[in-house]
Amino acid sequence: MIRVENLEKNFGKRKILDKISLQVDLGDIYGIIGYNGVGKTTLLKTMAGIYKSDKGKVTLDDKEIYENAYCKSKCFVMTEEVSFFPQSCLDDMSKFYRGYYKNFDLEIYGNLKKAFMIDGKQKNRSFSKGMLRKAGLIIAFSVGADYIFLDEAFDGLDYLMRKWVADMIRSYVKKRKAAIIIASHNLNELENLAGKIALLDEGRFSYNGEVKNIKEKYGLSLEKFFEKERKIGEVDWNEIF
């Protein structure tokens, strides 16, 4: 279980996260949504122990995650900008991660490569945005992590692939009893995929709870709920053009 308590994070004088609290249990698929630049990635990176919180704490199984090798080895972070060495290929990256993740499953890795039709010998720098995303997902779901943080997991993927990825996530969570935390702008996919959702707005959660509650309580789809909650005003485009 990852528990975030009263988390605060500042970039210089700018407050990005303000007293954020959150709990992710194994088996959860947790969606983090919010406007551009609202701090979703910062929240993911702080939860994964990459960023240090300024106040509050993030614990994994009651142990502070920051600078805790054991806790961090249970997590995998796939950020928006997939972090691969550009001069290496996917097989090199799998080799790299095998050294750091004891549960890295070569069989799963092989199967995922086949499923996503990625050549493991192709250099990462020659990958398209979508291919790079697929490569990232292959590694993310091969390392055997209990907690996978996906930042813009569906970005750059075509419709069919997005469906596949959603199915893959569901299956992984069910079979491995893992938790997935997804930050995304793709609300349709998240609505069908995530059990819980947190809407980040001006450093705080304006909503944090079950996805189904949104429908039950407000009678709105996630997209409509997001529109309703947004703070920015309407723009008359006809006037602009």
Binding site: F11, G12, T42, K45, A48, G49, I50, Y51, K52, E67, N68, A69, Y70, C71, K72, S73, K74, C75, F76, V77, T79, E81, V82, S83, F84, F85, F96, G99, Y100, Y101, K102
Partner: protein, 726 residues
Amino acid sequence: MKSFNKKCGRYDFYIALKKNFWIFLLFLFAFILLIPFSTVGLKKDSMFEISFTHDQVKWRFLNEKVLIITLALFIISGILQAFFAFDFLLKKRETTMFLSLGITRKRMFLNRSLAGVIYLLISAFLPMCISLFLNKMAVGLYEKEVVTCLYLSGGFFLVELLAFFITSVGIFISGTYLEAFVYGMGLMSLPTALTFSLGSFLNGLCLGNAYGRKNYFGEYVTGKSFIKMFFKASPLTFFYDELCKHYTFVRPNKSPIPPGINIKILTVWIFVLVLIVFLAFIIFEKRKAEHAGIMGKTGILPDIYLNMAAVIIFAVSLKIFGDFGLVFVFVSATITALLAHLFLKKIMFGCDLKIKNTCISFGIGMSFVTAIFILFLNLPGIIYGNLSSKEIESARVSYIGSPDYIYGKALGSSINKTNYILNEISFENKEEIKKLLLIQKKFIESGNLSFKTDKKHFENTVVPVDLVFSYKDKKGKISTFYYDRANMSELEEMLNLDDTKTVREKQSQVILGDDLGSESVTWAQNAYQKGEVYLCDKFFENSYSLNLNDKTRKMLLKAINADISKESSKERYFSKADAVGVLMFTLNPDVDTKSFSYSLNNTFIYLTKDYENTIKLLKDNDLYNLIDRNFEIESITLQEFNPYDSAVNSLSNPFSLYFMSYVTDSNDDFMIKKDFGNENVITDKEKIEKMRPKLKNAYYLSRGGSLACVKLKGNDRYVYMFLPEK
């Protein structure tokens, strides 16, 4: 789980080793070329060549031509190893990747540092060990050779480690490569930059500063330059002197035993290294992951660097443009510093260029520099005030007068048609020391001068000199002041030292052959005592060798001594009396009877009618009539004396302003040759006759005048004299 963490740590170490491997290999190859190859691989310059070693070179670990480049490459090797080890912190994606892994920062730091240390260790020791082995094969092992090899390897290793960890600190506090480079290099070169700046400010602003000043003969006046003085205090240079001392050993040398190694310097720097490693570790642990790839997140560091840059810009400007005057230096350096400030702030540190913030940060730097200027400009007065209030036991000063009575410590050289002698005389008489202090006060009052000719007021013309004033107080503390320029009136003031009792007594001793002390040169004394004596007319048309026995030589020298003893400095250097002839004492007559120019082997007595005793003696011995003749002058070529009038050979080094006549075969042998314009040749007999009595064989050039090339009728030789008027 613990065992996996260990495995994970080991794997991370393997990743670190892998990352730095190629750069290690590249440098290892370079060091093998620079160390063992350079000492045995070059023909004619190989330890295997007897024509090179002559059985005297006992070892040479690397070629002397590559000492600096080798040391520089060891530093670069350390810098690059650090960049390869820790550059992931400067890239957003890689920072996320590495810091998300199940490994602590502590372990990450240790792994990358250890990988770097191993590679640096190998690249320092392996080439040196190969070189040792090759040296052994070539000439065998010599006493202390192995220890010296290990010492040098250890030194190289330490240089690399310092570069590695200082650069690492630079990386840890930076967001981008550019910042990391600037901060890393800045930290590493800080001691050198500071000592350079201090030296530059002292030399350029603090009038009379003797530290780091070299005289014309290349000797340091008091001690080495600040940079050299603090060579051992900079991570860039601390090992350079040791490398120069130990890279080779040649026997016979001063001693058959190789010089001992300096463990102290390594120990001190190892201690510094430990502190830097500790600092690096703390900064690495506290490093914010979110700073990766973003510049300008280093708080007040950019401002500190920018102000340091301003100080260095002023120091460099002072060094380069010092001769153009302080106003020029200040204005040009301010403009350069402002441009550098804006450029560095925006491009390198990514700071906002808001007018208010820029004014404040630049203003702080400028205030600091201005304070340095004010302090250093006022320092001479403060030091002088402190000095003159002390009780001084003895004083030494550079002597600028006639070399014909030279004594004391001296070095000499000839430049074109003049000469330069760095001569030192000392005083113990309190009144004379006071006189010397008053002369020095004039230098302080004149302030910083620029080299120039002042045609209107020639006494303000400034020329290069090598003047050292040195005072010893009762506690034995010596205060030394050095001036590399002086105006003519200051120099004229110094000629008054000839009127002091001390100088007069010493000059008499020179002529009469008394003991001058062990430190003193005996050039003039030897000429008087042992040299051949020639009597010439003032145009050197006729010269007569005088065969003197001991008795008659003594009589002559006694007469000369009597005359010069009553001669005031004014009469000596600015004589109004007519010249009547010349007495030359020479140890090298073959050469000197051709040119009659001053050298360290001769002395001249330029006789005027005031030399009553000498002239009487010459008359008594029927010699005076030999020189008392009137020659017809065919022409006089005049050239106004101006030390900077020529683009070809204008003076940039100190030279003697005491003009002493000479003879050559050319009418273009002026001590300063004009390279354009018509020569002012006078052939009008009436004009020549008017000029004739004013032509001087010897004169001090401080009041200006004309150099005169005199051609006598029926003779192809030219006599160079001085006409003390335009």
